[in-house]
Amino acid sequence: MSDLVLGISAYYHDSAAALVADGVPVAAAQEERFTRRRHDSAFPSRAVEYCLREAGADLGDVSAVAYYEDPKLKFRRVVSTFLGAAPRGFASFSATLPEWLSWKLDVATTLRRRLAELDAGPVPRIVIRRHHESHAASAFLPSPYESAAVLCIDGVGEWATTTLWHGRGNRLRQLAELRFPHSLGLLYSAFTYFCGFKVDSGEYKLMGLAPYGRPRYAHLIRERLIDLKPDGSFRLDMRYFEYLRGQVMTGRGFERLFDGPRRLPEGPLTEREFDLAASVQQVTEEVVLALARTARRVTGESRLCLAGGVALNCVANGKVIQEEVFDEVWIQPAAGDAGGALGAALVVASERGAPRAHLGTGRDGMSGSLLGPAYDDEAIGAYLDAEGIPYTRLEPDELARRVAAELARGRIAGWFQGRMEFGPRALGARSILGDPRDTGMQSEMNLKIKFRESFRPFAPSVLASDAKDYFDLKQDSPYMLVVAGVSAAQRIEAADTGGATGLDLLRVQRSTIPAVTHVDSSARVQTVTEHNNPAYHRLLAAFKEETGCPVLVNTSFNVRGEPIVNSPREAYACFMRTNIDLLAMGGFLLDKTAQPEWREENDWREAIPLD
């Protein structure tokens, strides 16, 4: 039997489990997908059970359980923070100290107990790895590169907030780091909070908001908030931030600097928020570019691997690629803390002698990040029949043709195929799809399908072989983590903005694929190959045959605030609650017009908290 290592990340946000067999990721999933609580931070019981089931193993078959961060080191940082903040910070101290002392500090015992409760065999030994080591391993070991520079940039784990590594073969050597409280991730989160979005999830909205604004606060950020050195290292001025002292990110210092109190959640968005978003985004890009240049200079490598929450900033990633700091960049699809579970397992597997078996194939070792549960046609059919749900059964080619034809008519489809994605993005396994040529699609999908803010952009999937005709993309982007400009050939020249500003910019048509062209004519691209996702590739090819356009709008299969759907039941509920017209689930096609009336006792929207 293979040598199995189970990785776990938990107790902060986005708990996850990952299973590695002889160094190959074979299963990985976030706990939120099972418990249906977004960013669930609880011990990932369900994700662990799923990983074991996928491999047909129990805990007795697992050589080691790897935990993604070192709680003792983290606790020292927490105590140092209180030492640095006292006499302020008591509320935070009294809220966190008891849980630290009762179960968080000795996490190995806690994990052992929780694993034993699963009743899945004898609990193997628990190995603790460091937070950034887990990130670095998740970035480098599954990458297609024999050697590379590795950068991990996030909020904070134990002490490190930014780390630089050199990866060679199956070894990673750490070169340098920046430490808490100086953190690019926390700088970005502070602006996320100040603009009225949720920390640890609203960062994505802030990035989407940035192109609506002008970076008129960028100089203030550079002068007052961050001392950035030419080599990308930096310190923040902690007098402006509150996160050392308590549970909020910013206070009066920020208000004085940035024209008044923060925007309250769900309050109106004004020019100021657009400009704040544009400003912090610009500074973030400067820092990431400087860090990347240093990584290249120090390691002499021509390839870069990225992980950590800031590596989900696909606009900054796009800049690193655009500026050709490296010849190629590979980004871990689960770049946030969920990916730490995988990284920790990979480090341990590697130390146990596992090779990087994918090297030499030219591909990465992530299997398209399709590492979650799958439901075969037998399971889907059994569910549909038991519920009396009407459907049409189709062969794969016919299904792709039918869905493509319906999409071309302006209809919106739920696409539920194969194994669920690991990481925050939907990549064509649990996706909602639409026609990107449709000028009304962006607003339709935001307001009637996702029930979310109208400013939020949608992303395109494109056949990898056609990507260059549509986007100025210098390399593949299989995980939708790179933003690139829409190519000149697809842009509509001299698009008349009519002096529009802010959200009115949305109404200007800028390209032949307006639904996925952001107001700065950029797009967050996913390139799709037959190897990574054959079913989705087939659909894109059919859509191209039908319309000449190899691009689809791809957004995650959920509504605002809800985790991405995992099972057929969740997919069907999301289909019926929203204005999705069709649902293609395995070999089954469901048409909304043929469905019985959908009834729920309670208002489902009240049960899902806003994100």
């Binding site: 140092s80 640095g84 903040a85 006499p87 340098a176 080599d231 001025d237 240093t294």
Partner: protein
């Protein structure tokens, strides 16, 4: 009871220790040094 213990720990232990630490050194390395060339902390063993 727990509240009293937490209050005492914070104001009788953490606070004086923290104030002292901040007078003698900068435990969180908060200060900027405009003249420094870098803030990187090397983690390589010599």
């Amino acid at each position: 009871m727990r509240k009293v213990a937490l209050l005492s720990a914070y104001y009788l232990v953490i606070t004086p220790a923290g104030l002292l630490a901040r007078v003698t050194r900068d435990p969180l390395r908060r200060r900027w040094n405009r003249r420094a060339r870098t803030y990187w902390i090397s983690t390589e063993r010599p």
